[in-house]
């Protein structure tokens, strides 16, 4: 569904991605892991149009995304949830969700979409009038996710959904991710928390120094001693390699 081939990208003259590739088949969950500086977030941002690639191809169901702006890519059914922030801090929960449906055509459509989201996240229905900034870390992350869902995306790009969250919240977030996938959404997830992503992904790509280092199923990754040592940490605890 979503294909990236030979992507070179970066900031200004600084090249971070030096030819990365991956594939996200429809309905799958694909994880993207790797050490700091590998270019995982850069890859996601390039796909979504925040960065313009120096070279390479990005296609969504055959249609090229290169050169499109984020708001245009969103219109094609792609959602993006940033690593931090990503919310409108001074707006209420309801307003955040409401503006998430900015691109929807009719008021009826918007109302229906909001209803769906509230059904999936009943917590937010109670807290609709609260300012988004007053929510806990986990709730904020969930709100960002919920907001991305208002437009009923077919593909979701998540940048480190578990970052800076307490373990309890991480579990909840990943439960939501599983539920979303069951309802048909394909997810491309950048993660530092290797354990969690290995537990949900169908396929995992490992990025190192801007290039692909490995890809396979979680079982294959766990099966390789080398990969375990380099990227999964010694033993099987989640962690970032030195």
């Amino acid at each position: 569904m979503l294909e990236v081939a030979g992507l070179r990208s970066g900031y200004g003259r600084l090249e971070i991605l030096r030819g990365a590739s991956l594939r996200l088949p429809a309905g799958f969950i694909v994880g993207l892991i790797g050490p700091n500086g590998a270019g995982k977030s850069t890859l996601l941002k390039t796909i979504f149009g925040y960065l313009r690639p120096f070279a390479g191809a990005i296609t969504l169901e055959g249609r090229s995304l290169v050169g499109l702006r984020p708001d245009q890519i969103m219109q094609l059914g792609v959602g993006f949830v940033a690593q931090a922030g990503g919310l409108f801090a001074d707006m209420t929960v309801h307003e955040n969700l409401l503006v998430g449906g900015y691109s929807l055509g009719s008021r009826g459509e918007l109302r229906a979409a909001l209803e769906d989201v509230y059904a999936r996240f009943p917590l937010f229905r109670e807290r609709r009038r609260q300012p988004a900034a007053s929510l806990s870390g986990g709730e904020q992350r969930a709100l960002a996710l919920a907001r991305a869902l208002v437009i009923r995306p077919r593909v979701l790009l998540l940048d480190e959904p578990s970052a800076a969250l307490a373990p309890r919240f991480i579990e909840e977030v990943y439960e939501t991710i599983r539920a979303l996938n069951r309802s048909g959404i394909a997810l491309l997830i950048v993660e530092q928390n290797v354990e969690m992503i290995l537990s949900v992904a169908h396929r995992v790509f490992v990025l190192d120094l801007g290039r692909n280092a490995f890809d396979g199923t979680p079982a294959e990754l766990r099966g390789s001693d080398r990969i375990r040592r380099l990227y999964l940490g010694e033993g099987s605890r989640a962690g970032i390699p030195a």
Binding site: Y11, R13, L14, E15, I16, S41
Partner: protein, 352 residues
């Protein structure tokens, strides 16, 4: 054009320019021409001084007219009220402006770009208001006059103009040379560039940004004050309009035209723009300012490095190198390896 060849070409141009400048009194012994030239040179000093602070060190000041006015009023005031020699007046004007500059520099340490510009703008306006209303000292809206001029000038009109011109050129050339020297050949200059590029990084490399910022302020405002003093003794009339925003606008326009961050660029830009300005006066008094505004806008967008930038493509790399003086060896040909960002984050500008 390779670096070395460019440098020698530039030296040639500068020498040629210097020769022309020195010979101008002989080539064109007309008081009017010399008068224009003298003013242009004074503006060149003002523009360079602005560039030192704003273009080179990245501390944007919108109030340089204020320092200019301070220098002018101090110099004139000392001569008029205290009867001091104009040379002393000049010195005091420079020193006074420098002091105020440092004074402004202190709070500026904490302020980001916009705020600094606004504060300096407000300061210049305050100075202008004071100049306008403090009748006893400044002569109010009509300004100060009758405070004498440089001593020992010949009597004849032409000779006088020539001598004044040479004097001003000498002082200005000296001042600009000092600025260039500081920026190009001292550690202070490196520090200035580092501060402009990435202040946080500079701090983390052990550069005392506080000291260097204040130094930049002092030098810049001091030289602006010097320009003011020269202006005062040259024109022999100092009025509140010297502190107006139009002055600042003109200075910024000259600097942008000539090329920010080069010191000599704005000086050149000032000379050229002043010439254009005067030429346009024949067309209609107001169109010159329209042109200035247009120039600023067009140049900022399309030619932010001004005239200087047209020939300075390679020098841009110096800036990145200096920001990372952690390694002593810098490789001029490979900018891609050198990151201009903070070392730790994966995505240096992920939240830009």
């Amino acid at each position: 054009m390779s670096g070395a060849r460019f440098r020698s070409l530039r030296r040639l141009v500068l020498c040629a320019g210097g020769v022309v400048a020195a010979l101008l009194p002989a080539l064109a012994p007309h008081p009017f021409v010399l008068s224009l030239a003298t003013q242009a040179v004074i503006w060149a000093l003002l523009a360079s001084s602005w560039d030192l602070l704003s273009g080179y060190t990245g501390q944007i000041s919108f109030g340089h007219a204020g320092f200019f006015a301070l220098g002018a009023y101090t110099a004139a005031g000392m001569a008029k009220h205290l009867g001091l020699s104009p040379w002393l007046g000049l010195l005091l004007g420079t020193g006074g402006a420098a002091l105020v500059g440092v004074g402004v520099g202190f709070p500026a340490l904490r302020l980001r770009g916009h705020y600094l510009a606004l504060v300096t703008l407000a300061l210049a306006e305050l100075i202008r208001l004071s100049a306008q209303n403090w009748l006893s000292v400044t002569g109010g809206p009509f300004g100060m006059y009758d405070f004498g001029t440089f001593p020992g000038l010949p009597a004849g009109a032409v000779a006088r103009a020539q001598a004044t011109y040479l004097l001003v050129v000498a002082v200005v050339a000296g001042a600009v040379a000092v600025m260039l020297y500081v920026c190009r050949r001292t550690r202070a200059g490196q520090a200035f560039r580092a501060i402009r590029e990435d202040e946080v990084l500079a701090e983390s490399l052990g550069i005392n940004t506080t000291v260097y910022k204040l130094l930049a302020f002092a030098l810049s405002s001091g030289f602006a004050g010097l320009a003011g003093g020269l202006y005062a003794f040259y024109i022999q009339l100092v009025s509140p309009t010297v502190a107006s925003a139009a002055t600042t606008s003109l200075v910024i326009g000259m600097a942008v035209f000539g090329g920010l961050g080069t010191i000599w660029g704005p000086a050149l830009g000032a000379l050229l723009l002043f010439a254009v300005n005067e030429a346009l006066r024949f067309v209609g008094v107001v169109y010159n300012l329209v042109a200035v505004g247009l120039t600023i806008m067009v140049f900022v967008i399309f030619l932010p490095r001004g005239l200087a930038g047209l020939a300075l493509r390679r020098q841009r790399l110096t800036v990145r190198r200096d920001a990372l003086r952690a390694e002593e060896d810098a490789e001029p040909g490979q900018p891609e390896q050198v990151t201009g960002a903070t070392p730790s984050a994966e995505d240096p500008r992920s939240t830009a």
